[in-house]
């Protein structure tokens, strides 16, 4: 490998260069990250283990030079960096920002939903005051608004290029931007062969942050994990992104492997309230005591990530994800089961997704075996990836399943909003609790340093652990093996930010 080139392998396919487009998949978000800029970004912090991670508490400038929030918290005014230019040399203006934000709230689908999380839902909330001044107006103050501008979605597009390719049917130029990014980001896309590779080339005029050291980053898609492992081990590639936990555990001895527990993400067992036996709290608790947490953590995650069971101390802080008070205790589980109205056990399928089989399958098998011991017979049902979302999240029809929601915005209330609120997408258990519902709604916009915040959050934790619609297993890790490069940073969006990477010496 030459000094200014890095080769990355991943098993994922980038299917679009435009995050806003309908159907764009998760791996494609990295184009928004590496090739476009946002107004702001999160800062970074060094974790206890020395790894570098994003820092949710710090908002830093990217395209914006500075910003101010009005007294009432309803207006945020941004000043753009004066020397920021697009790849074509044109200056980045507030008009571009407005056009891009208008696009994000108008195209529908995921970007619009994500913008809403920060209270941004209509074009009239954005105003380009002059070339360098951009204003965001909120309907209600929210602590999530500014962070929501640091997620990949509100990226800034070269609106003139885009408009030149817009049509009446396609006012947001989704067709054009789908294959032709037009941004101001650190890297340009030199080449993209869907299903094969994407080649990033440095944009030397980037002002969003320190200029990346690496000129070219080639990212190859290699579906077979065994092949990926062979490649990184032989040193033919410098970064293997998102590797299986097992490889991470083993490769750690030979090279640098970053395994960062993914922020605000939990692997859980879902118990669907629509299924009669799971309406019995004793049954839910019995299962929570039957689950072989440690075995799961070791076999499914090879000890990568963070355990989320067996909390003994009372809740004193608002950190999340956190350990549940449950632990493996078969006797207790049997006792609870015997005391439940389903003392004789019952049958239920345990559903998993084929796409997520790598952790779900071993987990499911261990759970299947364990709950068998307390009289619950289950058959592991593998649902094709294409079906999974519909079955588990949309129709919410899987009685007993595994689930792994993760929130981008790293606050417990945000997680609870999606996963514990009635009707919301990730509440796959059909769970409903009025008190929790109310608390979530209250805490969502509340600043984290608000004195009322902590007590309310603590109460939410208690309810969630008592009611147990979701039994937390562990917090998964994002594993990245690096062999011959350095500077890897973990980001909540779980995509590779290639900008800080550099070729390792020697």
């Amino acid at each position: 490998a030459s000094a200014d080139q890095i080769v990355v392998v991943t098993g994922q396919t980038i299917n679009s260069l435009d995050l806003h487009r309908t159907g764009t998949n998760r791996p494609s978000y990295q184009v928004a990250i590496n090739c476009y800029d946002r107004l702001v970004t999160f800062g970074t912090k060094t974790l206890e283990n020395g790894d570098i991670s994003f820092d949710y508490s710090q908002i830093e400038p990217e395209l914006a030079e500075s910003w101010t929030t009005s007294e009432d918290g309803l207006t945020i005014t941004f000043k753009l960096k004066p020397d920021a230019t697009f790849w074509d040399g044109r200056k980045v203006t507030a008009e571009d920002v407005k056009w891009s934000f208008d696009r994000a709230v108008s195209v529908g689908g995921f970007p619009t939903t994500q913008m809403k999380a920060g209270g941004l839902s209509r074009p009239d909330q954005f105003e380009a005051v002059d070339e360098a001044t951009f204003v965001v107006k909120l309907d209600a103050p929210s602590k999530l608004s500014l962070p929501d501008l640091a997620v990949p979605v509100p990226f800034v597009i070269n609106s003139e290029v885009a408009k030149a390719h817009a049509t009446a049917d396609d006012p947001w130029a989704t067709e054009y931007l789908h294959t032709n990014p037009a941004g101001s980001g650190a890297y340009k896309v030199a080449r993209w062969d869907s299903g094969q590779q994407i080649v990033f080339e440095r944009f030397d005029g980037w002002v969003g942050g320190p200029l990346p050291q690496v000129k070219r980053v080639i990212q190859r898609e290699v579906p077979s994990p065994a092949t990926r492992r062979a490649l990184i081990e032989r040193g033919d590639v410098q970064v293997s992104f998102d590797i299986p936990d097992k490889d991470a555990a083993e490769l750690a001895e030979k090279m640098t492997v970053y395994s960062t527990p993914i922020a605000n993400t939990i692997h859980v067992v879902g118990l669907n309230f629509a299924f009669e036996p799971f309406q019995d709290p004793k049954v839910r608790q019995a299962i929570a005591y039957a689950i072989p947490y440690e075995a799961i953590f070791q076999t499914a995650a090879y000890g990568r990530g963070a355990p989320l069971w067996g909390a003994t101390d009372p809740i004193t802080d608002a950190s999340w994800p956190r350990k549940s008070p449950y632990f493996t205790d078969l006797d207790k589980a049997k006792e609870l089961m015997a005391a439940s109205s389903f003392a004789n056990g019952f049958k239920v399928p345990l559903s998993i997704s084929t796409d997520l089989a790598s952790w779900m399958e071993p987990t499911a098998l261990l759970i299947q075996e364990a709950v068998g011991k307390i009289g619950i017979t289950c058959e592991v049902e593998k649902i094709p990836g294409a079906n999974w979302r519909t079955a588990v999240l949309v129709e919410k029809r899987l009685p007993f399943h595994l689930e792994n929601f993760g929130g981008w915005l790293d606050t417990p209330d945000y997680y609870f909003f999606w996963a514990y609120m009635k009707g919301n997408l990730f509440n796959s258990s059909n769970y409903e609790n009025e008190e929790l519902q109310k608390l979530t709604e209250e805490t969502l916009p509340m600043a984290q340093d608000d004195p009322e915040y902590l007590p309310k959050i603590k109460r939410m934790f208690e309810i969630a652990f008592a009611d147990l619609p979701r039994i937390p297993l562990y917090q998964p890790a994002l594993n990245v093996a690096v062999n011959g490069a350095s500077g890897y940073q973990f980001w909540f969006h779980r995509q590779l930010d290639v900008r800080p990477l550099s070729v390792a010496e020697g």
Partner: protein, 293 residues
């Protein structure tokens, strides 16, 4: 022949036995393959009762142990005994391949026989239908069917059967077609047999010898097909032991050094397919009365 069978002389029966023995003795490779087949049959029948461990019992402490005295084929990622799983899987794999082949054999034979015998429009239509199936990349068709119907054992069998039907139908059609005007078929008509009877009891059985070769090839192929589906993630449901899934999962452990996970199921899979392929000529010789002396 059902009611057409005559009280068979005892000579005929022992003749059959000695004919089989003869065929086996004549070709050592065939004989070896039949011995192997007997072994697989035995594994399928009594395997689940004699294996040392429960093939589904996990043992996280003993995960990924290399082969040892206690676990001759080692253990997998969940600490399950690979040997027990390999042996127990025999039954399911045999069931998948035999059932799939049996279904395609029956349907393909009926379609092919009718088309070959009747000719004309029926033949033309059937040929176009078969062409249509063959025009699909077969493995992808199987994937599609399994994806559409869901990945249960039954559906894997159905998918495998469907993609095999054209081969049987083609073969039977050709074999029936060349015998349609054969003297013995005409003679059977003169003996008062209806067309259906002539076809079923006189012409069709004569197509059996070449079909046996196809059957044996397909048995092996069916197992490989199931293995391929497993590799794509459309195989049988876990934790059911099945060679294809075990190889497919184990394949990912090769590079990390846990070779036994893929090697042993792979070896069994290969031996089974190999056995089936090798049996073909022997099977043909056995069902072919002309080989009798």
């Amino acid at each position: 022949m059902t009611d057409g069978t005559l009280p068979a002389a005892p000579v005929a029966r022992s003749q059959t036995a000695s004919h089989i023995l003869y065929v086996l003795r004549e070709n050592p490779v065939t004989a070896a393959s039949f011995v192997m087949f007997a072994f697989f049959l035995l594994s399928a029948l009594i395997g689940p009762y004699v294996v040392p461990y429960d093939p589904l019992a996990t043992d996280a402490v003993n995960a990924l142990q290399p082969p040892s005295f206690a676990h001759p084929f080692g253990t997998d990622a969940l600490g399950r005994d690979v040997f027990s799983r390999v042996i127990v899987a025999t039954r399911l794999d045999l069931v998948i391949s035999v059932a799939a082949v049996a279904i395609s054999f029956v349907i393909g034979s009926v379609l092919g026989a009718i088309a070959g015998y009747r000719g004309g429009l029926i033949d033309a239509v059937l040929n176009r239908i078969l062409d249509t199936i063959m025009a699909f990349p077969l493995f992808v068709l199987a994937m599609g069917i399994v994806a559409a119907l869901g990945n249960s054992v039954t559906n894997i069998i159905i998918a495998t059967a469907i993609i095999n039907i054209p081969f049987y139908a083609r073969l039977v059609r050709a074999e029936v077609n060349i015998r349609r005007e054969a003297g013995f078929a005409l003679a059977a008509k003169l003996a008062g047999n209806s067309d259906a009877r002539v076809l079923a009891f006189h012409i069709f059985p004569n197509a059996l010898p070449p079909m046996m070769v196809q059957v044996s090839l397909n048995l092996g192929w069916a197992i490989l097909n199931a293995a391929g589906l497993s590799f794509i993630g459309l195989g049988v449901k876990p934790p059911t032991p099945e060679w294809g899934i075990m190889v497919a999962e184990g394949a990912n452990y090769i590079v990390s050094g846990e070779w036994w996970l893929a090697l042993f199921p792979g070896l069994w899979l290969m031996l089974a397919v190999f056995t089936f392929n090798m049996m073909g000529d022997g099977l043909r010789d056995i069902v072919d009365p002309r080989r009798r002396t």
